[in-house]
């Protein structure tokens, strides 16, 4: 005990020579807390929404149904869609990636920001194009830029690009070591899930996060689709529309009022985007409203952050 007490006393002695943080420091730090809304979009929006939603349910004293027991086995149609998606993924030509390079991802997206208005949650929609350069190895500074197309914040007119240097997460975006079999990928998805959702739902969300924000080699991408086909409770949604208006066929998993959907091109079976649909009224939206939607426009490998890929 004495050692810690001595250390604490020593620390307090040291405080005599250290001024409290100055207003100048506050100004210096807080002036860095500003950026256009787009790049601030969390990588794990879906996880966040589910947390808020479950918080509401708990606070309102509602008994939520237990998540275990009752998740039906995947339906045959969804399995078939995912099988075809895996076949299509395997047919892709693998991109060569060096650790020093960047994964360029261009997405059209819309999402509902949940704001509070006089104590009531209100959804406000943002739409725009997001271009991100994620360091392949995670070692270099990434970049995101965002072009709002609707509902810009004050001072952020639509049509122009807003750049956030270092705005892309510092995590490797090229994951060459990912499992390439359905079994191993299924284990990976459950093990690498964080968040408060039940394991099956979280694994489904993790699959979406993985393929949205990273470049996966064809075999790993195929393994993701086959693994998703084994998550209990996955079913099919026909006529799901991506944010750029493409009509696709989706597989979904629903929990806590959120339907998470991965959307595929009905003809080529390529993964074209994803969305989140509320299955019950939320933030003054009706059941069935789309809360978040992303259409992948392009994934490419480039040498530098900010560099546009050749056509």
């Amino acid at each position: 005990m004495t050692d810690l007490t001595d250390l604490r006393n020593f620390g307090r002695d040291l405080d005599e020579d250290i001024p409290v943080p100055s207003p100048a420091l506050r100004h210096r730090v807080i002036s860095t807390f500003a950026e256009p809304p787009g790049p601030a979009r969390p990588r794990r929006t879906r996880t966040r929404r589910a947390v808020i939603a479950s918080g509401v349910a708990v606070a309102a004293g509602l008994a939520t149904a237990p998540w275990w027991g009752g998740a039906p086995a995947i339906d045959a149609q969804a399995a078939q869609i995912l099988d075809k998606a895996a076949v299509a993924a395997r047919r892709q030509t693998p991109l060569a990636v060096r650790p020093s390079q960047f994964v360029f991802i261009s997405e059209l997206m819309m999402y509902a920001g949940i704001n509070d208005h006089n104590g009531k949650p209100v959804a406000r929609f943002y739409q725009g194009q997001l271009e991100s350069w994620y360091s392949a190895s995670g070692a270099r500074k990434g970049l995101t830029r965002w072009q709002p197309r609707s509902a810009p914040l004050p001072g952020h007119p639509t049509g122009r690009w807003y750049t956030t240097p270092g705005g892309a997460p510092n995590a490797p975006a090229y994951l060459p070591g990912l499992p390439t079999t359905a079994d191993a990928m299924l284990v990976y998805l459950y093990q690498h899930s964080t968040g408060s959702n039940p394991p099956d739902q979280q694994a489904f969300i993790t699959a979406g996060d993985l393929i949205r924000d990273n470049y996966l080699r064809p075999a790993a991408l195929a393994a993701v689709f086959l693994a998703v086909a084994r998550i209990p409770g996955v079913s099919v949604v026909h006529g799901a529309v991506t944010v750029d208006g493409r009509r696709g066929v989706a597989v979904q998993r629903t929990f806590g009022g959120d339907s998470q959907q991965l959307i595929f091109d009905p003809a080529t079976h390529a993964f074209i985007g994803e969305r989140e649909v509320t299955t019950r009224p939320f933030a003054q939206l009706k059941a069935g409203a789309v809360l978040d939607s992303t259409a992948i426009l392009r994934i490419a490998i480039v040498n530098e952050a900010g560099q546009q890929p050749g056509s």
């Binding site: 001595d6 100055s22 807080i30 601030a40 918080g55 006089n118 104590g119 949650p121 406000r124």
Partner: protein
């Protein structure tokens, strides 16, 4: 600066310090409204600045704190909103920033060792004896801190100066609680050995 986060309905968010919204709610709100992150600065900058000052000195404390909040702001989209209290997360980022200044910290410890050794004692005999004893303790502590592995020093000082629990340190550093415990035990053993030379009664086991 419009910190409107306190308008958030209590039904959605857990409570934070002083009855305000939880840190997680503030960070969640800052995804849409980046300026809300200032609330996090106001809550934690005093504690982080004090801890940084002790470790790297007053001159570098401002830079360390500024770098910590910039890194935290950029990483906020990956903050686990299930954790209402952001303090461990911030101390984790601060620890990384201090680690970048390992040389500064070592230079500071060297300087502290010198000031402890050189400061002349003056005054009444009792006071002199107390000062000499206190200086000897300080010198022993500085010597022990200098000799610790960086990872052990982090855990020891997050405990003694950061007032973080085992679980919070585990969260801050991203290591298992068992690792925190063993690092802390190792660090404390070395500190007690160093103190033992000046004060034999210092070698006591903490109960439980």
């Amino acid at each position: 600066m419009h910190a409107e986060v306190n308008k958030r309905p209590a039904s959605i968010v857990a409570e934070g310090p002083a009855g305000g919204p939880a840190d997680s709610a503030v960070i969640g709100a800052s995804m849409q409204d980046p300026e809300q992150f200032a609330v996090i600065y106001d809550r934690y900058s005093p504690a982080l600045h004090r801890y940084a000052g002790r470790r790297v000195g007053a001159e570098d404390a401002d830079d360390v704190v500024a770098a910590t909040f910039l890194a935290a702001f950029r990483a906020r989209t990956r903050y686990d909103l299930d954790r209402p209290d952001a303090r461990p997360w911030l101390f984790g980022i601060l620890t990384k920033e201090i680690a970048r200044r390992r040389r500064t910290e070592q230079a500071r410890l060297r300087a502290l060792a010198r000031t402890c050794a050189d400061r002349p004692a003056a005054g009444h005999a009792d006071q002199v004896a107390a000062d000499v004893s206190a200086q000897a303790t300080r010198r022993a502590l500085v010597r022990a801190l200098r000799g610790l592995a960086p990872a052990d020093r982090d855990v020891l000082l997050l405990t003694a100066w950061g007032e973080l629990s085992y679980a919070e340190i585990a969260e801050a550093l991203g290591v298992p609680v068992g690792t925190v415990r063993s690092r802390l035990n190792r660090a404390r053993r070395k500190v007690r050995q160093a103190l033992g030379g000046t004060d034999p009664t210092a070698i006591t086991e903490e109960p439980s």
